[in-house]
Symmetry: C2
Subunit: 394 residues, 2 copies
């Protein structure tokens, strides 16, 4: 085994009701958390990592089995970014990964029991917003005795949470690292979310969101949702490079000569490699992800729009922020394009905020924020060493 930071999830239980933006109240809830590194005596070195759609509190390190052995392929979703000596260095920072409310990875969500009925929440789980998640995360910090974050950091939907932290708790965040994110979804972004949701909701096994009661799962819908999502995470370039128009070899065919295979002329079976890849991604996802969680998280994305309360002015909305910012975008990201990050940068500059911005020329589309691009990682490393570290030491 490669030596690996050991990740041990902890559960925090909250009994004070949480009033949500929708008007609903969550009477009590649990958050599952992993931490890496050590909180310093001044409690000034905490870094909160916010996750996107298909992720959790398990940000870095490996999971272990009962005998203490690290499990294969159990690395956290941002393990290339966070750990000892990594860009976010756990020798220096106390890093917190938290699973959001509504998730299906441990924190209170639709697969859990509704105390009012004793049945799984299912579709009755209250609708959530980015602001609700941030509020729950702030209570977690209270419980941990952390007043101020050295940094809050996230990519995509995680970047929206980082941005929202600077608006909801401006004096509790020194730095916000907002990667491959956007100030809100465009109509096209919402459209992709909606098609994915319709695929789930119209699956006959969805049962209006109460599939658990019916002892079934809307796997067909989840597969389609994931396939759509996956297309939007990748760039046209990287798909052409990885798959192009290559055919999927069948039993007995030479996979090294995929370009020379003959068409099989079929409509329902796999013909091209890209089809096989997407089907595999859909199958894998539908085996572990909860359909109601998918609806809740995509809706939180749709609803995020800090400028909305300010007549559409992002400048006015971001006036509350006090943090310093690092924004990063990726040239081929067409889900949250560099132009969307630049809107945030522009609004922050108009407010006189301290903001650094880098647009990384990377071929991988939106997924680039999870990948190990040396310029990108070096950038984050430098930002933590030069900017975040200063105030931690001070």
């Amino acid at each position: 085994m490669i030596p690996c930071l050991i990740a041990t999830p902890q559960t925090f239980r909250f009994t004070e009701p949480l009033a949500l933006r929708s008007g609903a109240v969550l009477p009590a809830y649990e958050l599952v958390v992993e931490t890496y590194g050590t909180l310093n005596a001044a409690r000034s070195n905490a870094v909160l990592i916010c996750h996107a759609l298909n992720a959790s509190h398990h940000v870095a390190g490996c999971q272990i089995d009962a005998s203490g052995q690290a499990l294969a392929r159990s690395e956290g979703w941002w393990n290339n970014m966070i750990g000892p000596g990594k860009p976010v260095d756990t020798e220096r920072y106390f890093v917190i990964g938290v699973n959001n409310l509504g998730s299906c990875f441990g924190s209170t969500g639709p697969t859990h029991h509704n105390p009012a009925t004793g049945q799984p929440w299912g579709a009755d789980f209250p609708v959530l917003t980015v602001e609700d998640w941030v509020q729950a995360q702030a209570r977690l910090l209270d419980a941990m005795g952390i007043q101020t974050l050295a940094a809050v950091m996230g990519g995509s939907l995680g970047g929206m949470q980082a941005l929202s932290w600077t608006l909801q708790y401006p004096h509790r965040v020194r730095h916000a690292v907002v990667i491959a994110s956007a100030p809100n979804l465009t109509a096209e972004n919402i459209a992709f979310n909606e098609v994915a949701r319709r695929a789930i909701v119209t699956d006959p096994d969805f049962h209006a969101g109460h599939y658990l009661k019916h002892h079934t799962l809307p796997r067909r819908g989840l597969r389609i949702a994931r396939m759509i999502g996956h297309i939007t995470y990748l760039s046209d370039d990287v798909m052409n490079e990885k798959f192009g128009r290559s055919l999927q070899p069948r039993a007995g065919e030479d996979s090294t000569r995929a370009a020379e295979l003959a068409y099989r002329y079929c409509t329902q079976e796999v013909e091209f490699q890209i089809e096989s890849y997407l089907r595999h991604q859909g199958d894998k996802f539908s085996a572990y992800f909860d359909a109601n969680t998918y609806l809740l998280i995509t809706r939180a994305l749709d609803y995020f729009d800090p400028a909305r309360a300010y007549g559409g002015s992002l400048r006015a909305a971001l006036a509350r922020a006090q943090a310093s910012f690092l924004l990063v975008s990726f040239s081929t990201d067409w889900r949250f394009s560099p132009a969307r990050s630049r809107e945030i940068v522009q609004a922050l500059m108009e407010n006189g905020r301290n903001v650094s911005y880098a647009e990384i020329d990377a071929p991988h589309g939106h997924d680039a924020f999870l990948l190990d691009d040396p310029r990108y990682h070096q950038l984050v490393r430098c930002y933590f060493q030069r900017s975040v570290a200063q105030e931690v030491a001070a």
Copy 2:
């Protein structure tokens, strides 16, 4: 009623078997056709219009009821382009609209009866290619006594057919007008087709493509397929302009103040206008389009790749073409981007062919080829007046 060219469909029956690229043979078949204008004595003024996914032989003019009255909203799908005095002027040209094999609008397709079984073809209808369609169209011209086309013209998949005409029958085409098209699909294009097909095929009402025998229709799958398609037909710009993040007003709400409506916090119902629009498009489409036709046509798109037989060299593939070409692309078309049209232009120029190319700066995405953009229409008008007309008169 507005005066309208009257469109009268005719059916041509072919009893000579058609050998398809897949190796299958279609024993006999019918093609439904509309024509507009008059074939001249020299038989030199015929213009063939090839259709894309969701279209038919009904290209121009209006349909009439039994009493000869024009039906409301019955205009052909390219009625703004084709008709008396229009860019493709039916006072001068004999324009032919033909419904392709495998369609659900009249020509022989999967909803028709398989003569071998007496049952609907369903999923047993043979897989089709662009080349098969062009071969069937050539036989139609034989039956009409037309040796040479003044022009063949189409947008999107229709443009692929126009391009294929110049390769399969180089001496029967004087001009090819190829609009918003591509020399093949990218991996991303295939990916979108595949997700749409999976939505259809995994609909429990699909019954492996034999839904007619089960007296049902896979409407859920068709809805999702159309919603995905629709996103790719539009540009992000035009979606933002038309819908933006506006909410869908509900009963009793003021639709003129959509921007001020409050979030309703729901995951399964419509919240944003773009959702309502997409659902409407999906519902409409699923009520009239055949699911097996959808699979066949998207597969014909996937398979089109004239360079494939030439080791990937488009230049080598297009060496057979003898026609003159007009290519048109639209700046915001991300389904078949201008770069894809330029690949065709480049390969034609390398072969010393006569080629004109225009990239129209239009906000409407792929759909622009169906819309009434004055510069675009003027361009096509001029091409027909200056280039196509010359040889018709000669």
